[in-house]
Subunit: 307 residues, 2 copies
């Protein structure tokens, strides 16, 4: 599934406005769209037709859907069940409150239906629920760039203690587990890192971390069987962390079947390095919450496939 | 409280990394910081000292805090209670899960304490709780730019139906109310807008909306007593909506005591217009969820002041 950024994400939307925003955003971020379908009131073809078509489209690896209501609930469910075994289907449903349902009726006129039933259809159908537009972006690029994990155990590597704490909180809040790295490995690692580094989970390489420290840490954690996914926090506000980190992470990602994502936030320099990482199919996030959320989506999809 | 963008936001942080990220971000977005305090392990002065100092700092209108644990809980509570009546205090607490607390102990070594107690201290102390780093950014700029609302009723004006539905959902999910515009006013408005526009809440001016349509709609809703806050959705993917909208919204904002925020998402053109809006002290958001969240913070602060 890992590939070039974009070129493999399809969007099906019942709202022209939501659709154009997504197209604009993809263009700005340099992602390419495989297919784009804006179908409004669905007088002839509906969402199930499009999902079925995209299931067989070789250029599409991930299918995203903005929907206000399904035309034929039973068929929609059967379609999801069949297609989501082949490729991830990400769904944002609008009209999930009584007032939202009423707004839907003056927009596309769809029967927005019960939120509970819709959530069950998404879950039982093996699709991935997006709660907002950001989720669509984050889930689509993560699922199109990274392999699915074997389990839910996350290892965190950071050069900023506060970000490490925040990511730890979000891993737990998103109902993933914090990996417990092997004790004998930790012992071995401690001998190779400065005494003021915190080796564990999170592993905090602290403010003077260089790319080389990340390389060593990644090598240990990628070979350690106690984790399933790696969250790397790289804050470029520290003077010793150079652009070399991009190659270090890209190289690590090539050698492993564990998904790797990067969290990094700051100004323009940070944005440039994040863009480079994405060109190597490493999804990047500004905030721990959004990163943990994307790892959760990867794990959800992996579990659906195992069923 | 309304003023120039930035120049009036102070940051107090226990994490150097979180602090540098915030500084970088503020610089990139063109906000100015009044004071910036990174205090780490707090061996002499602590968070309460800094909050007290900033309470009397004339250049600071909003105080933001990243904290891993309070040194003296009782004093912290008393300080918040006193200061938050003068200016908003926004707090992001890290270490809110068992695993996060343990990560805190290897970072600043603070006693992270019980999350429940901390949440109560924030609430009873009249401060505003940020759940993540994005919340800090969004709450700080919204509270520094816009007046506080009289109540919790939100009026939505949009040119994209889907975004209107999503915003409606989020207003409800964030436990605000959807304003119910006066019926006789709606009747009057309907005569002045094309028949295919949806006049109500949301009011959908549809894809051919021009700045002039927004001007008229804003005039009605700003004078209508049934709403307390206005959320304006401006999607620039439609050909007829020009940069004139910036002046229309800035002008409306000058004439009213109701807070106005803007939701707009897309590519570079959208980003330029959003930046112009922010220069007129109109906070802008890319996504309905984040906008509703910021309105919720405005409302929370308003309620604290009324207590």
């Amino acid at each position: 599934m890992r590939g070039q950024p974009g070129g493999d994400i399809a969007f099906v939307t019942q709202s022209g406005a939501v659709g154009s925003v997504i197209l604009d955003w993809m263009a700005m971020k340099g992602y390419r769209v495989s297919k784009f379908i804006s179908y409004g009131n669905a007088t002839d073809l509906d969402e199930s037709d499009f999902i079925e078509y995209l299931a067989n489209d070789k250029k599409t690896n991930v299918i995203c859907l903005y929907i206000e209501g399904a035309k034929d609930g039973r068929r929609f469910y059967e379609t999801l069940k069949k297609v989501s075994r082949k490729k991830p289907v990400i769904i944002l449903k609008a009209g999930t409150t009584e007032q939202g349902v009423s707004a839907v009726s003056s927009h596309t006129g769809s029967l927005a239906g019960s939120t509970e039933i819709f959530n069950t259809v998404i879950k039982q159908g093996g699709a991935i629920k997006a709660s907002n537009i950001e989720d669509i972006f984050d889930f689509a690029r993560t699922l199109s760039m990274q392999p699915v994990p074997r389990g839910d155990r996350v290892q965190i590597i950071t050069n900023g203690g506060g970000f490490g704490v925040l990511m730890t909180d979000w891993v737990i809040k998103k109902k993933l587990r914090l990996a417990k790295p092997d004790k004998s490995m930790i012992k071995k690692m401690k001998r190779q890192f400065p005494g003021y580094n915190v080796i564990g989970n999170p592993t905090d390489l602290t403010g003077d971390a260089r790319a080389e420290g990340y390389r060593k840490a990644l090598e240990f954690f990628l070979n350690d069987k106690s984790s399933d996914m790696i969250a790397v926090i790289t804050l470029f506000q520290t003077p010793l962390l150079t652009a070399e980190i991009v190659d270090v992470i890209a190289e690590a990602s090539r050698k492993t079947s564990k998904p790797i994502i990067v969290i990094s936030a700051g100004g323009r320099y940070t944005e440039v390095l994040k863009k480079s990482l994405e060109e190597f199919s490493i999804p990047t996030f500004s905030y721990p919450e959004r990163a943990a959320n994307a790892l959760r989506a990867l794990h959800d999809y992996s579990r659906n496939l195992q069923k």
